[in-house]
Symmetry: C2
Subunit: 472 residues, 2 copies
């Protein structure tokens, strides 16, 4: 097992030359900032890592803006970091080699809605909640929901997924095409609005999940789905995490087309109860959602209730109105901020592994045993229908013992996932912290292939350098 990557990479900071800064100022005026507060804000994400600010922040409003900034960066061999809303969890936006951060949050237009084709084209700064608000009247929705109200650019760049992926897939399955500004500042397109294609290399899928290291996304064409005729959500409590997980495994193996199947452990529920006064039983819980026709939803629900009961599931509570559903989902979506408040001054270190569904119980149970033994507060939520779960530790960032202990627990959890034919990250991405794990998972030949692709597409190593793998 390779050690997690050193957070202070050896590659030196690459300063922005005066001529480039002048050119940026001329092109972008007040949309080019070197103010400390602006830089600081763009140098961090939701991870534990200390802010590592860029030298300059440029607010882009168009593809032409992005192309102009990247061309200058290319000319001067200066790092470029695309930035959406800063909700990533693995240090993706930290300016570890300095350079220019492109803030894309103002590129927030829904450009084209094709209701008849179930497709939409957006700018990268559109957030998932904004998109769903803007298409509310079309009878369609975009299902991918990683929890945070992330931008679709960021979600594409990290191959995000979240709660609905068990039924609707991840960003891998839902991005039809991209407009990309390449490392040379050229504008290109990948994909079409056709649902499938065998035309050449799948550049769309190469860019999706490339974490800003191959190009900047300036337009994203996504699949949409008809709003289901009926939606029903339910919670069910279980005597143990194991029982909840075994219920999930059976639901998937039986092919029930469940739309969401989320696990919260007792610690997560304690947090949301304290934070949002939800009054939930502080016991492992599955939070499920069913989409379909009225009859289909009823049928799925009946099957799942039967499976749950076999595993000791009890106290089913149903929510069929949007308001009741929102209340239940608030528990899931607030779990992160709720947990942070249970230990004042703490930071959260979260890791996410994904394993074949039959290995999920083993994967979670052993991780729990290790965390319990270590005595570091933690909580678990998981998109367990996909075999994906997050273990999050609440640690004192100033306590080297806790930092080391959490690091050790994370290594064990990833080692186990790989041993069980799984992956070191189901949806958070590699970023800074998992570079060593990527090498363990993919092997040196595959990682060298990734590096070679990077060298070819970005010969000056300006696109979000120092992430995913080290380039030497």
């Amino acid at each position: 097992m390779n050690a997690p990557h050193d957070l202070h990479p050896h590659a030196a900071v690459r300063p922005v030359p005066t001529a480039m800064l002048a050119a940026l100022r001329e092109r972008f005026g007040e949309r080019c900032s070197t103010a400390a507060a602006v830089r600081e804000q763009h140098g961090r994400d939701e991870s534990v890592y200390a802010a590592t600010p860029p030298e300059v922040v440029v607010y882009c409003e168009s593809t032409a803006d992005v192309a102009a900034a990247v061309k200058l960066a290319h000319e001067h061999s200066v790092p470029v970091i695309p930035f959406g809303i800063g909700s990533s969890l693995e240090g993706h936006v930290l300016a570890v080699q300095g350079g220019v951060t492109l803030d894309l949050s103002r590129m927030d237009k829904v450009l084209r809605i094709d209701t008849a084709d179930l497709t939409v084209t957006v700018q990268p700064g559109v957030t998932r909640e904004q998109l769903n608000r803007e298409i509310k009247d079309t009878g369609l929705f975009f299902p991918i929901d990683p929890g945070a109200n992330a931008t679709l650019g960021g979600m594409s760049a990290t191959r995000a997924s979240g709660t609905n992926a068990v039924r609707y897939g991840t960003m891998r399955e839902n991005v039809l095409g991209l407009e990309v500004v390449t490392a040379a500042g050229e504008v290109m397109r990948t994909g079409t609005r056709a649902k499938k294609s065998s035309a050449g290399y799948d550049l769309t899928r190469l860019f999706v999940g490339s974490e800003g290291t191959l190009g900047v996304f300036t337009e994203i064409t996504l699949k949409l789905y008809p709003l289901p005729e009926a939606v029903s959500a339910a919670i069910c409590h279980f005597p143990s995490v194991d029982a909840a997980v075994r219920t999930t495994i059976q639901i998937i193996q039986m092919g029930v087309p469940i739309a969401r199947c989320e696990l919260l452990d007792a610690n997560a529920i304690r947090g949301v109860n304290a934070y949002a006064k939800l009054g939930l039983r502080e016991q492992p819980m599955l939070l499920m959602e069913f989409h379909g026709s009225e009859a289909g939803v009823a049928e799925q629900a009946a099957t799942v209730q039967e499976i749950a009961r076999e595993h000791g599931g009890a106290d089913f509570q149903w929510a069929t109105t949007p308001e009741e559903r929102s209340r239940l989902w608030a528990a899931r979506h607030k779990s992160y901020f709720a947990a942070l408040q249970t230990r004042p001054g703490c930071r959260c270190q979260s890791t996410d592994t994904c394993v074949p569904i039959s290995r999920l119980a083993e994967s979670i149970n052993e991780s729990i045993a290790e965390s319990d033994a270590a005595g570091i507060p933690y909580w678990i939520v998981g998109h367990v229908g996909d075999g994906n779960f997050h273990l999050s530790w609440l640690l004192d960032p100033n306590d080297p013992r806790e930092l080391a202990e959490v690091e050790r627990l994370g290594v064990q959890m990833v080692q186990r996932a790989l041993r069980l034919d799984g992956t070191c990250t189901g949806e958070h991405g590699i970023g800074l912290h998992k570079m060593g794990y990527l090498l363990d998972e993919a092997g040196p030949v595959a990682v060298e292939m990734m590096r070679n692709i990077k060298r070819t597409l970005d010969p000056r190593n300006i696109m979000n350098p120092g992430k995913v793998f080290a380039l030497t």
Copy 2:
């Protein structure tokens, strides 16, 4: 619009040096053949192109065999062409630059079935029918069905899809991971058995659809699906192709989870009636299949019948037993060979475009009008639920006028697909014939990016050279 690629590429044949031939003979013995009949058989596919045989054919039986052969080819800069069963339609396996064809049909083991995880790992020579036979007792099935009983290696290499893709996706969505022999003869793996991952560049998706130009697949891990509780197939006749297509569009837009939705025009039906004595009405027809619970299937069927009736659909015939279903699907799967027999001595030139579903009627109607005007016999089948259809012309391969006319019709059809935001190939791939179209569709920047990836992964241009794009 770029002209379709010249079928006699300018790159010269690269002879197999005597030393390499000797090494192959020593390593492979009788599994290394230079017999004219063997070479001829491996130099052609189901397309109209004349055979272009390799210099040598090697029958591989293991990953080690493939690696050994590729290493020799790498050392001597000799082309390597992976060959499954020769069912491709765009000249993928023609040895346009000579070299060694690796026949992978003996690598036909199902290596590992994980019923609990709904995954299977196979060697590349396993065909889709064989796979479904071997997993019959597990309660699972592999849905991707391009019609031909293709190998899973070939299906992965061309990003195949077919009749079930409207519900289950294409090879893009269903390949979880690969073992690949690289152009240098190294063995690497991509992906894991986890359902999703954000770990690094999506090399799996880069290889899927790369048409043998980036490496040779030696193991393929696929998703499986639980056999649906209920399956029901139906045919319905329509007064026009347009009415059938408009029915399809509405089915998709309403989100009916139809498993198969195939169009056959009257010409296709005339062919299968003559060939298989099916006695079907010689009128445009949709052939549909529904998967789900008993109640779910009944509900889908009722919705679809209502939509079809609104468009003049009549004479619904249902098939719920496997035998009845096989009879109906025989019509679809035999359409190719049936059509060939309607014009003795002819060859079939087929093209497949895919457009956003709302443009499908326009796309098909105009293609029909042009083919009718040209007076070349044709027939249409289509995976219309995906916006994908095939127009196949029956031409006298010795008649230059017919060849030119079919070429012109194909150009028009692709031009239209691109104008309608679609793709020049939904599932057949680029191969030899669509290289010019790829340039039209993806643009020079994207195609140059593909070329650069190829140059990086295969610096000696030995992996199926002369396909997908020209390398200069």
